[in-house]
Amino acid sequence: METIRFLHTADLHLDSPFKGMAAAGPDELARLQQSTFAAFDRFIAYAVEQRPDFIVIVGDIYDGEDRSLRAQIRFQQAMQRLEEAHIPVFLSYGNHDHLAGNWTRVSLPKNVHVFSDSVEQQQLTVRGETITIHGFSYPQRHVKEPMIADYKIAGDDGIHIGLLHGSVAGDSAHAVYAPFTVSELRQKNYHYWALGHIHKRQVLAQQPPIVYPGNIQGRHRNEQGVKGFYDVTLSREQANTTFVPTSAIVFTALTISCQGIEYADDWVAACQEAIDGVVAELGSIIIELVMTDTEDLADNLQRAASESEWLDILREQYVMNEPFVWITTIDWQFSSTSESPNTLLEPVVDTIVSWQLEDWDELMSELYSHRAGRYLERLTLNDREQLKQQATALLAAEWLKEG
């Protein structure tokens, strides 16, 4: 029995813009702009160095359906390199770079095999072992119906690998794309399921491996942690997956206790120490800070400057830093042990707390109805909680200030 080796990646989202990078300057932006390419370059460099038998890319190579031309050119160049290294590439397009998109087609070299808009098989032979790869590309943006039914059940001939860009049925966190269940996949008797679409790396099952490699580079605060791809060694009997990190910049969060810290400079030092620790571990980072145990610090900080100023002060410590460090937010967890219960304030706070999602939307309606609404995302549950907290805190603060 022959063992084959291939690389499994998905969701490259090349040239994807980073979301939520408010207040970032041109230097930071330039850095971020390069990061998806940097991650991709790492992937390609790894491939060229390691010479796997082939590579599978399961959708969302490009971020927008317009497929950034630069991204296409870079991708084409990378494929060229693989071609020169004699590494075949099997790829399918996903919901982000579906075939109906209005994009310029850059011709890819011959080693690249693209799946068409309906499920099909492609074969190759590695050291005598026939490998059949099943997959399809998204014909348009939305493929809500399950495609799994169209995948052929594997016979006894060689190794079968399934490429599927979609989400597990019933997962409400993500929009439904080509839904499937693990058991459905298992029924196909493939030796490996190379999934795409979900950016969070996860292994849904071990026998056979059903794997989301996640994206290769996080692009916003919800894509935290080290990103990369899988280096898979596979035989009919056995599978072995190794995660290879690629992310050039890692999104992460850090909770810092301010216990015993009274003065601003101590606070800055403490933060720096904590951040440096993370940097040592992860390299370049985009980090959210959460401050806890702020009782001792609160008065000092509150009095000296506003929260945004503290953020600026901390950011300044990392200007032009290498590795790259960008602090997105500082969340101050002030304990709401505010004064005595206020007879007057309480009903107001109660009002805020009582609001439902619709009420918040109502509050936003003025913005939504304005042309600004086009650029605003709908509030999430999380947002609502956050807003609630912020509103309460603001009320309390203002009360204190005015009273």
């Binding site: 813009p17 979301k19 990078m21 702009q33 310029t104 007057l344 304030l345 107001v348 805020i352 509050l363």
Partner: protein, 943 residues
């Protein structure tokens, strides 16, 4: 919350006052000036602080200057019993709160205990006097709502403030139609970015078009290049054809021409051979002609003299010397004769002879003897002449000397002194004497002569005159005049002799000197005259002596002349002048004549001989000149000899020519034969034909060479023969077509290549362009920033909205409750005269009667107005009992009430007793009876 006890340390007129209060209604009675208001104020002061010193309100500091302040003991359901003490301290006083458990706190805790109420808010609801009941008519819904909602608590205002602030902050963040707020700006930026992105995208969309175009261009270029290649090949073929086809044509033409020519052979160098022979032939022929001609010439015989003549001539030639001698003799004789003639002439001239004399001379005696006779005579005459000449010279000399002396004498006579001079000289001694005299006088006069005296007289006179004029004394004036006159006279009288004398001496001294010089000159003159006289005498004597001598010599000379004349009387010429010479010349002359005679004879003889000779020769040769006779003779002889030789030669030549002619004839025959052979060889009969044959042959040779040439050229292009289907014009046309096409292709290719480069560049640029992703990223950043701002905005909105909602909740739920309670009480108080208190559409209160009539508050009677207001206040207090369970403090508000309404009022208060403590201050004693035991009585100033 209830006040259990009031303790005043010092407050206004109260000092160390302690008032115990009940939970229900407390009636505090006191007449005017008992201190009721003071106590009321004390409560408010202690709870809410002493008024600032600059405020209108009284501070009630004790005039005695004792302890200021007091304390309240308070029962509180929520916080338990507590005590508040306020004493003098900072301007609002120092406050201390004591709890039952011993805990003490300060202001902050107080705020909480007072539920956030301040004095104004407290007073608005819980503390009122009659005066404060006024003004209900001025209240509108908002005021009442406000009052109602928190009854003017500080907190409420704060909330209002917060709400306003939030509104402001929101507006600062975002305005619907705004432009400047950050969110609006962000939106604008986003919009711009979006546009920029769209633009960029559209630009990038051209990528595919450009790619397609590039492919097309590439293909087109390739196709064109191919075509170009083919055309080039074709053009090359045509090029070859262009070169080969004329060659082929030439080849064909030459071959045809060659075929047309007769193919007879022509000897290799036939023409040369022929021409050689022909030239030889003509040469020989001309030679022969010459020989024949010569023969004819030579055949003529030569004329010669007969032998005897020839011999005579030879003889004459042999006698040539003799002839020359004769000729020479004639010449020399003639010469000699000419010389002699000349000599004769010379002598004749020298002697000055006439022709007659000439003949005579030939007879003249010129012997030496005669010469000797004449010579002494001549000598004598000559000597006398010489002496005469010498004497003449001496005589002239003496005479000129005497002339000279005579002239000097005249000169001297002119220098003789004049008579005047002589007279002056005579006066000289007189002058001398006068002079000496004068000199003597001068020396004397020098010692005297002074002018002081006359001067004195004149001054004196003036003085006296002046005095006289002054004294009017005419006498004295007269005296003075006299004195002056005397002075003047004295002055005048003074001699000028001194000056005269000096002049005199000077003049006469010069004069005397001149006189002396004149005297000396006269003496010298006299001496010279004397000398000259002596000289003249001496010269006269010498002249006399010389004259005598001359007389004598003259005589001698005359005698010698006579002797000579006698001696030469017979001679034709006078030879006496120079005797010897004359004789010699005459002798020579005689010699010349003799010689002439001799030579004339010799000449005649020689001439005779020559004439004879010439005549003989002329007989033979014809007339000849005497001079060239022998030359002719010699020529004649030579001629004869030459003729003889020539004749010999001629005969010889004839013989030679004969043999030559024979030889030439032989050659000619041979040449003719050779020519014949040549013609036979070429198969022609004459020269013209032979040459035509040669021409043909030459042409054929040329054509053959051309053919070879063409063939070799053709061989260069291809081994096998090439065949073409085109004609030359066709070919030309095709070539033009191809070149035009090629040009067009080149042009197109150039344009396309340019486009290729441009496309490549554009594509590369687009491929590398970050602009779009940069814009995208920037867009996301801006979006995030907008979201951030939106969140801030929403948070503010939430705060504002929550406040509004809470407030409107109060307003909407609590206001109606208060109103309905107030209505009930108002209705009760007025004995159902008025049914309700309602709010007008404008938000003002109005009272509605049971009959449905509406009255604005200010239309009501004073008491009714107060009742309306009390109803409202109490309703408020009642409604707020949970949040603000404060005691109600009233300062005689019921005074205008009639008994009926008062008792109804008391009823209502009784109802409120459980939830509120009441402190009722009054100065009306009858009030006690009205309350009838419902209230605990406290008399102020009676403790």
């Amino acid at each position: 919350m209830k006040i259990r006890k009031i303790v005043l340390y010092g407050f206004g007129q109260h000092e160390n006052v302690e008032i115990n209060l009940q939970a229900g209604v407390n009636l505090l009675y006191g007449p005017n000036e008992a201190g009721k208001t003071t106590i009321q104020q004390a409560i408010l002061h202690i709870l809410f602080g002493f008024p600032q010193k600059n405020q209108q309100e009284l501070r009630y500091e004790p005039k005695t200057g004792g302890k200021y302040g007091g304390c309240l003991y308070i029962e509180d359901k929520e916080f338990g019993p507590w005590m508040i003490e306020r004493v003098r301290g900072k301007s609002s006083g120092d406050v201390t709160i004591h709890f039952e458990d011993g805990r003490t706190t300060g202001e902050e805790e107080l705020k909480r205990l007072l539920r956030g109420y301040d004095r104004a808010a407290f007073e608005a609801i819980f503390s009122f006097s009659l005066f404060q009941l006024q003004g209900l008519e001025r209240m509108d819904e908002t005021d009442i709502s406000r009052t109602l909602l928190a009854s003017g608590t500080t907190g409420l205002d704060t909330l209002w403030k917060i709400e306003k602030k939030m509104d402001k902050e929101m507006a600062a963040l975002f305005k619907k139609a705004g432009r400047n707020p950050p969110m609006n700006q962000k939106v604008k930026e986003l919009k711009e970015l979006e546009l920029a992105m769209q633009k960029e995208q559209r630009k990038l969309e051209t990528f595919e078009l450009l790619t397609i175009r590039k492919k097309q261009v590439d293909e087109r270029v390739k196709a064109l290049r191919n075509e170009e290649q083919q055309l080039h090949e074709q053009a090359e073929k045509h090029q070859i054809a262009m070169q080969v086809m004329p060659l082929q044509q030439q080849q064909k033409q030459v071959t045809e021409q060659l075929a047309a020519l007769p193919s007879e052979s022509f000897p290799a160098d036939g023409i040369r051979r022929y021409e050689e022979l022909a030239s030889k032939q003509s040469e020989l022929q001309s030679k022969r002609l010459r020989i024949v001609k010569e023969q004819q010439v030579t055949a003529e015989a030569i004329v010669m003299r007969p032998g005897n003549e020839q011999r005579q001539i030879e003889r004459w030639v042999a006698q040539e010397a003799e002839w020359h001698r004769l000729r020479g003799e004639i010449l020399s004789a003639e010469q000699e004769l000419r010389v002699l003639e000349k000599k004769q002439q010379q002598s004749k001239q020298r002697l000055g002879l006439t022709d007659a004399q000439q003949l005579a001379i030939e007879e003249m005696d010129l012997s030496i003897q005669r010469e000797r006779q004449l010579e002494p005579l001549l000598q004598e005459q000559t000597t006398a002449e010489q002496q005469l000449q010498a004497l003449n010279r001496m005589l002239a000399e003496a005479e000129s000397e005497r002339q000279e002396a005579e002239e000097r004498k005249v000169l001297l006579a002119r220098q003789q002194p004049t008579d005047a001079e002589r007279q002056q000289l005579a006066k000289l001694p007189e002058f001398k004497r006068q002079l000496d005299e004068a000199k003597a006088r001068v020396s004397v006069a020098k010692q005297s002569t002074n002018r002081a005296i006359p001067s004195f007289f004149m001054i004196l006179g003036l003085l006296i005159g002046a005095y006289g004029v002054w004294q009017q004394d005419w006498f004295i004036v007269t005296v003075s005049l006299i004195t002056i006159v005397a002075g003047i006279l004295l002055w005048k009288k003074q001699p000028d002799s001194m000056e005269d004398l000096h002049d005199f001496i000077h003049k006469h001294e010069v004069h005397v000197e001149g006189m002396q010089r004149l005297k000396e000159q006269v003496v010298e003159h006299q001496r010279q005259c004397q000398q000259l006289e002596e000289e003249i005498d001496r010269l006269d004597r010498k002249l006399q002596r010389l004259a005598a001598e001359m007389e004598q010599v003259h005589h001698q000379k005359r005698q010698a002349g006579i002797a000579l004349k006698q001696a030469v009387q017979g001679d034709p010429i006078d030879s006496t002048s120079n005797l010897q010479e004359n004789f010699r010349l005459l002798r020579e002359y005689q010699d010349i004549l003799a010689e002439q005679q001799t030579w004339k004879l010799r000449l005649a003889t020689a001439k005779q001989q020559v004439r004879t000779w010439v005549d003989q020769v002329e007989m033979l040769l014809g007339p000849v000149s005497e001079d060239t006779l022998y030359e002719q003779l010699r020529q004649e002889l030579m001629k004869q000899k030459a003729s003889k030789e020539k004749d010999f030669n001629r005969k010889q030549l004839l013989k030679d020519l004969e043999s030559q002619l024979k030889e030439v004839d032989t050659f000619l025959a041979s040449v003719q034969q050779q020519i014949e052979e040549l013609f036979h060889l070429t198969n022609v009969s004459d020269k013209e034909q032979f040459y035509a044959a040669y021409q043909n042959d030459q042409e054929a040779q040329l054509l053959k060479r051309q053919l070879t040439e063409v063939n070799s050229q053709l061989a260069l292009y291809s081994k096998k023969p090439l065949t073409f289907d085109w004609t030359l014009p066709e070919l030309e046309r095709k070539r033009t077509e191809i070149s035009e096409r090629l040009q067009a292709i080149r042009k197109e290719v150039t344009a396309l290549v340019d486009e290729q480069v441009k496309l490549d560049h554009e594509l590369t640029q687009m491929g590398a362009s970050q602009t779009y992703s940069e814009l995208q990223l920037l867009f996301e950043v801006k979006k995030a920033e907008l979201e951030e701002l939106a969140k801030q905005w929403v948070v503010r909105k939430a705060v504002m909205e929550s406040i509004r909602q809470t407030m409107s909740g109060w307003k909407e739920h609590q206001l109606p409750a208060v109103l309905s309670l107030a209505n009930t009480w108002f209705s009760r108080l007025t004995g159902n005269r008025y049914r309700t208190l309602t709010l007008t559409a404008e938000g003002y209160f109005q009272a509605v009667t049971a009959g449905g009539q509406s009255f604005m508050i200010n239309e009501l009677s004073q008491a009714t107005k107060e009742q309306a207001y009390l109803s409202l206040r109490l309703a408020l207090a009642s409604e707020l009992s949970d949040r603000a369970p404060f005691p109600v403090i009233m300062d005689d508000p019921f005074v205008h009430f009639d008994n009926e309404r008062l008792s109804r009022m008391i009823e209502i208060i009784k109802e409120l007793k459980p939830s509120h403590q009441f402190l009722y201050f009054t100065c009306h004693a009858e009030m006690q009876s009205k309350w009838s035991g419902e209230a605990s009585m406290i008399e102020i100033g009676k403790q």
